[in-house]
């Protein structure tokens, strides 16, 4: 048995199929992954993401620390509540994790990191923060619920406290704010509008029940994966890890090169890589033939070879889609080895789907 989130009993009651995910017993679906996926694209679904790790960083030099720790630049965060997506690199430019950091005050930032990388992330944060006198505090006793879909915000707002409702309806995308121990952010991992809500664990089951009663459907990690893939969002451990840099992971846009004198961990390594040129790139694939793209299938591109890092059937497009790491020279088409047959695929630029709409020609 793995660890249980505060919503475990709700998942059992909702008929969730529980599987191991990074040491946690999590619902992969509650019956039909495709129905759950489509419901998020068309209405509103909720995900238990309490397994993710919340870390509060406090101290006068927190901003300075994060300027050094992250490949993206926290100086882009000027308004309180604003969030930033960034990679945390090692000295070789490999990706230790990808994360979201919220600027609350200059002496207080909140970070959300992946469950599967919790231990090494915390160790790295402790190690690197020492020189800055920044306190790294893992926040336990919290739950996290993502409510996503075109109707997610409207269905969630009436369930919040008066104080939270007063600001939550006006949150701009990629902003969050506190209501006591609750933190409500307009962020997500689906390509749809919605909230990610961090709340005390003992209040989570009642909130989940209220959302369900408001017509927000429980949605498993299976749909979360197909939704993020359609939305063109990377998954740590599949699409990137410590053996590749952001430049080889379609995450160059998250690296803040300016100002040139900002020293951040991994900068030297990826600057050298940028000068020399990367040998591979992460691209989107759309399968032209019939079949389903899957992680680790071999990609044949001209004389070179690559590999699918995330592949699945896209419920929205009704086609197989993937991310693949391929040689830099790869052009507009390639082939994928599926059970010994070479099938044709088109190289496309993610996202595949945003706000319910296809973003590529089929």
């Amino acid at each position: 048995m793995g660890q249980k989130t505060p919503l475990y009993d709700e998942h059992v009651a909702d008929g969730g199929k529980l599987v191991d995910f990074a040491g946690w017993d999590m619902p992969i679906n509650y019956g039909s992954q495709i129905e759950e996926h489509n419901n998020v694209r068309n209405d509103a679904g909720m995900f238990d993401v309490s397994h993710m790790t919340v870390v509060d960083l406090t101290g006068d030099r927190t901003r300075e620390f994060l300027r050094y720790l992250l490949a993206n630049n926290v100086d882009r965060l000027k308004d309180s509540g604003k969030a930033l997506y960034s990679c945390m690199l090692n000295e070789d430019g490999g990706v230790i994790d990808d994360l979201i950091v919220y600027f609350i005050r200059d002496d207080f930032f909140r970070m959300v990191v992946n469950a599967g990388t919790r231990d090494k992330d915390l160790a790295w944060l402790q190690q690197q923060s020492a020189a800055f006198d920044v306190a790294v505090t893992e926040r336990t006793g919290l739950a996290m619920v993502a409510v996503q879909g075109p109707n997610a915000r409207n269905k969630t707002l009436p369930l919040l406290s008066d104080a939270a409702r007063a600001f939550a309806g006006d949150l701009k995308p990629f902003f969050g704010d506190f209501d006591g121990d609750w933190f409500i952010a307009r962020t997500g991992y689906t390509g749809e509008d919605g909230f990610e809500i961090i709340l005390p664990e003992d209040e989570a089951p009642a909130f989940w029940s209220k959302l369900r009663a408001a017509g927000v459907r429980p949605t498993g990690l299976g749909a979360r994966d197909t939704l993020r893939l359609e939305a063109g969002m990377n998954l740590y451990g599949s699409d990137m890890d410590e053996t590749v840099s952001p430049l080889e992971s379609a995450l160059g846009w998250t690296v803040a090169w300016e100002p040139a004198d900002r020293d951040f961990i991994g900068r030297k390594a990826i600057e050298a890589q940028r000068k020399a040129g990367t040998q591979q790139k992460l691209v989107g694939l759309l399968l032209e033939d019939r079949g389903v793209l899957r992680n680790h299938q071999k990609v044949v591109a001209g004389d070179g070879e690559g590999e699918i890092t995330s592949g699945s059937f896209s419920p929205t497009l009704q086609r197989a889609i993937a991310f693949a790491r391929v040689p830099k020279e790869t052009g507009e088409t390639c082939q994928v080895d599926i059970r010994g047959k070479l099938l044709n695929a088109r190289v496309v630029k993610p996202p595949f789907v945003r706000n319910g709409e296809a973003q590529i020609d089929l």
């Binding site: 039909s32 992954q33 495709i34 299976g222 197909t226 019939r290 079949g291 389903v292 059937f313």
Partner: protein, 131 residues
């Protein structure tokens, strides 16, 4: 509880087989198997005329979650395949023992199905697998 019709035979790899009046055998995957795999999105059936061994992987069912081989429960020749699944693979979820059949074969020997489990044995097998 999954649906396990008494008139069918079952394999340890979760295929079902139905002996037809003309001596041919229709094969699909069990209700339990489709439930475990989840929403079907792609089905690859064998070719008509293909000869297969007992236990040979000859079809693939792919759910949104994963691809899974389907093994022929008996040796014989494929005489018909369910082409309709190409456009509606979800039929395997909705009607595993009916419209979700995968292929029909002419078995090498009529007694071949005797080695398969009856419904009661399969129910026990599923229960044991669950624990």
């Amino acid at each position: 509880m999954s649906n396990i019709p008494v008139e069918l035979k079952y394999a340890r790899t979760h295929e079902w087989a139905r002996m037809n009046d003309d001596g041919s055998v229709t094969v699909g995957i069990s209700d339990s198997a489709q439930d475990q795999l989840g929403d079907m999105v792609f089905v690859e059936v064998p070719e008509v005329g293909q000869t297969v061994d007992a236990g040979e992987a000859c079809a693939v069912v792919e759910s949104v979650k994963a691809a899974s081989d389907v093994y022929s429960p008996v040796a014989g020749e494929i005489v018909e395949v369910n082409d309709g699944l190409a456009d509606s693979p979800e039929t395997v979820n909705q009607d595993a023992y009916g419209g979700g059949w995968l292929f029909r074969m002419k078995p090498g020997s009529a007694g071949d199905l005797d080695a398969m489990m009856n419904s009661e044995a399969y129910a026990g097998f599923l229960e044991a697998e669950d624990h």
